[in-house]
Every structure is written in structure tokens, then in C-alpha cells.
Amino acid sequence: MQCKELEFVLESAGLGQLPKDARVHLATCAACQGFLADLNSIVSAAKSLPAEVAPPDRIWISLRAQLEAEGLIKEPTAVLEHSNWLNSFGAWLKPRTLATAAAALLVLAIAVFVTRVPQNYHPGVAKNRPAVESPRPVQSTAAASASPSSTPPVNAPSQGPAPSKAKDLAPSPSESASFTLSQAELDVPDMQLAGNSQVDASLRQNLRTLNAFIAECEQHLKQNPQDELAREYLYTAYQQKADLLAAMMESGRGEN
């Protein structure tokens, strides 16, 4: 056996039991002995490495940003964005007394998102879908998880049309998001926030800015539902509002 052949054997069979002719060659060839020693040291070094190192969040953030920028993960990103702001929104609700009712609303929003998102892709199919399919299970979840006194009326007259128009009861994703955030916002007006007039003023002013912008985008989307750029801005504004409300609640909680 020649050196090249031994290399081939090592590549294909690994470092386990070598054939007899390979072992004979190895016993007499210093170069191949050195090669085998190198391979063994590489294997032992590899075994001493940690099994798996979780990459830092920023790697995922930058990777996602890059894939988004290249348009490779456009649709899934939209869904992720929704869940991101819903997650951050949920994080601050937990310790509040309103948590149970708000969690029900959150479930409503998520359920509506999950059931409604495919309609964006197949508008024609969406028209044929039964209109009341999403509110029904959500309503039961809300009823089970929240006491009647604390549960905001999901189908309150001010929030939606008359019950007879069952088709309109299923809110669009943006309507659900808007409604959920509005409910959360109800807790904010009388709250002393950071106990600092400058910070409080800034937080409230920025909330007004966001509300005005959201209203503008929603109005625009009613007239131009296919406007992807406006929708992108609307979802970003929802996320910002969820973050801002979380920051306001956090400030208020710090003082209370």
C-alpha cells in the first residue's frame, strides 16, 4: 500500500480498525504515522470543544435584518413582527390586576391573527369562509379565563357593529391589534408615570404621536387595503405602541 492509498482508507473508513495492509504500511512509514497522529489530535481536540454554543441574540437580529432587507423572508417576518409586539405587550400585563382580562384579549388577538393571516394570501378563499369562525372559540376562552366584571366586552356596541351582522364580527388583524392596545391604554391616563414631569410629558406626547399615526395608517388602509408599505408602517407603530405602553406601565409601577 502507498501513502495516497492509506489517506484514502483513512478518509473513507475513519480512524477505527484499519485493514491489515494499511497497518503494515503504517508500521513502516513515518510520514503516515505523523499524519495519523495529527488526525488523532484533531479528533481529541474536537471532543474537548463545548457541545453547542448558543449564538448571541444580535446574530439572529442582524441575520433577520439582512434576510428581510434582501426580501427573502418577507411574509414570515410579518407574522413574527406581530408576535414580537404581542409578546412584549404580554410581558408587562402579567403583574397587573387587569392581567386576566387582558390575557383574554391577547388570546383573541392571537387567535384572530392565526386564523386571519392566510386570508392575506388568498383573498378569494377568505370571502367564502364562515364569518364567525374565529370569535366563537375566543369568546369561550375569554369567558373561561376572565371574571365577568373584569372582562371588557369583546363585542361591545362601541367596538363593533350590531350582532345581527355576524359577518362583520370577525375583526381584521389590525382591528384586533388596535382594540387590544386601546384596552391596555385605558389604564394609563390617570397613572403617575416616572414621577418626573419631563419624562411623563415625553411618554404621553409620544403616545399621542403614535395614536395619531396609527389612526392615519388605519384610515388609509381602509381605503387602500393592498398598500403593503402602509401596512408595514402600521404594524411597526403597533409594536412601538406596545413597547411604549410597557415602558409607561413600568414607570408607573416603579412609583406605585
Binding site: A65, A69, A194, G195, V199, S202, T209, L229, T236
Partner: protein
């Protein structure tokens, strides 16, 4: 005669007591300066959470130590500093609910090694970082963020504060609701700027293969590029206009059949040079302005 002397004596006592009270109040309310040194071995991580008002200034030195200088009123603000290895955690919190913002204030001046990771958070007051290399996350509610000659993966998040980033390199992410962003003379390979109502100005080169995304809901997005740049441009606005003041330098997009638009339009696609970097500008209702630097 006797009552007059007694009266004067009494007056003197009261005056002295009053002066003493005023002096003690002044001493109690005067800012207290503290300086602490922390030896570090490698690249330190400095985390500062300023729950009260105040300015945070970070500069670098060649020394392997972190110096934390703070100024605050001792009985109004609690400052805690803890070192674990090369990580230094600093926090400032309010001890009183004083309605006077300037009283609940802590100003920090940090001197760190050139290669340091920073995580700074404040309510109001400027965050200023100069000549530091390392990943940094800077958060503020109403305070501005000024960065000069910093490098790394830079994340800036404000509610109403603005960002001025001069001679920055690496990657930059900025999100704000009403704050604006000015990026001047950068060497950034990846930029993502997003504000709802603030303005964005990018004045500098686009590095080849870099990705630059700038979005403002209602504000102005202005880009000033140089003649040596090489990038593909995609500018879109819903209700605003794209003001293209560099039409002579923008070729119609070479990578698709989209055509270049007129000077004022809702969207614009074009290429400068070979189109190596990617620049995406958008605004919901604001203006997008594209200029070439002289």
C-alpha cells in the same frame, strides 16, 4: 437698658440658628461628587441604569480600568456599583419623589478602556460616547444620544431623544418614536434607522456590499452620497414625495426592468456606480430627499 441687651442677645441666637439651618440645608442639597476605580483584565462590560435624570458621558483611555465619576445629591439619589469580573453594573435610583427634576438627578462620567461593551439606559439627559469600540446598547426616553468615533454593533433606542452619530463604524440600529437621527461621515456596513415622526439624515459613504435601511413615518429622510459610491437605491413613500436632486448620478436600476422616476414621485429606483451596496429609503407621508455631496 437690661431688656434691650437681652432682646439683642435673643436676636443674635435666632439669626445664628437661621444661618445654621440655611447652611445645613445648602450642604445637604448640594451635589456630591464620587469617583471609583475598577481594575479590569480584558474587554469590560459596563452596564449603567440611570432611573433618574442625568447625563452619561463615556470616554476611553489606554488604561485597563473603568473610572466611574458621579455627581448627585446624596439623600435624593442612591448609586450602587458592583463589579463581577470584568462586568461593572451601575444603577442610580431615586430616594425621594421630589417634584423638582433637577434634584432627582445623577450625572455620570465614565472612563473605560477603548474596547468596552456598553449598556446604558437613562430617562432624560444626554448620552455621550466617544472613541469606544465594542457592542453597545443605548436607551433613553427623552434624552439625546451623541456618538463620536465609536465602532461596533450599536443599538440606540429612544422614545423622543435624537441620535447624532459622527464618524461611527460597524453596524447601527436606531429606533425612535419622535426622535430623529443624523449619521455623519460614517463607515458603517449595516444601518437600520426607524422613526415614526423624526427626521433622518445620512451624510456619508455607502460601503460596498453594505445594507442601509432608513424609514420615517412622517419625517424627512435625506441622504447625501458621494460620487465614488456604488449602490442600488430603492426609495418609496405613500403620501410624501421623493425629491431626487441627484438625477444626473442615478442610473435607471440595472437589476430589473423598473424605470427611474421623475424628480418628484412616490418611488424611485436607481443605481449609482456598480450598485454594490443596497440602500432602501421609505416614508409614509414624509419627503425623501436624495442629494450628491459636493
Amino acid at each position: 437698658m437690661q431688656p434691650t441687651i437681652k432682646h439683642r442677645h435673643s436676636l443674635n441666637v435666632w439669626s445664628a440658628a437661621f444661618l445654621l439651618f440655611v447652611a445645613s440645608t445648602a450642604i445637604a442639597a448640594s451635589p456630591e461628587h464620587q469617583e471609583r476605580h475598577f481594575a479590569v483584565k480584558g474587554h469590560p462590560v459596563v452596564v449603567l441604569q440611570n432611573i433618574v435624570n442625568g447625563r452619561i458621558e463615556v470616554k476611553s483611555s489606554k488604561n485597563s480600568e473603568v473610572i466611574v465619576s458621579s455627581t448627585s445629591i446624596a439623600d435624593k439619589v442612591a448609586i450602587d456599583i458592583e463589579q463581577v469580573g470584568d462586568r461593572i453594573d451601575i444603577s442610580a435610583s431615586s430616594l425621594s419623589s421630589s417634584p423638582l427634576p433637577h434634584e432627582v438627578e445623577a450625572n455620570f462620567q465614565l472612563t473605560v478602556p477603548e474596547q468596552t461593551e456598553l449598556q446604558l439606559k437613562t430617562q432624560t439627559g444626554l448620552i455621550y460616547v466617544e472613541q469606544v469600540t465594542g457592542d453597545m446598547k443605548l436607551e433613553s426616553v427623552a434624552g439625546d444620544v451623541h456618538l463620536k468615533e465609536v465602532s461596533g454593533y450599536i443599538i440606540v433606542k429612544t422614545t423622543g431623544g435624537s441620535l447624532v452619530c459622527t464618524l461611527c463604524s460597524g453596524k447601527l440600529e436606531f429606533t425612535s418614536i419622535s426622535g430623529g437621527a443624523q449619521v455623519l461621515q460614517p463607515s458603517l456596513t449595516n444601518v437600520n434607522l426607524m422613526t415614526t415622526s423624526g427626521n433622518i439624515l445620512y451624510d456619508g459613504d455607502f460601503i460596498r456590499t453594505g445594507i442601509y435601511t432608513m424609514r420615517s413615518g412622517k419625517g424627512l429622510v435625506e441622504v447625501r452620497f458621494s460620487g465614488n459610491d456604488s449602490f442600488d437605491l430603492n426609495a418609496r413613500t405613500n403620501l410624501g414625495v421623493v425629491d431626487n436632486q441627484a438625477a444626473a448620478f442615478l442610473k435607471p436600476d440595472t437589476h430589473s426592468s423598473r424605470r427611474a422616476a421623475s424628480r418628484y414621485a412616490h418611488s424611485l429606483f436607481g443605481t449609482v456606480g456598480q450598485g454594490l451596496a443596497k440602500v432602501e429609503l421609505s416614508s409614509y407621508s414624509g419627503t425623501i430627499r436624495i442629494l450628491k455631496r459636493n
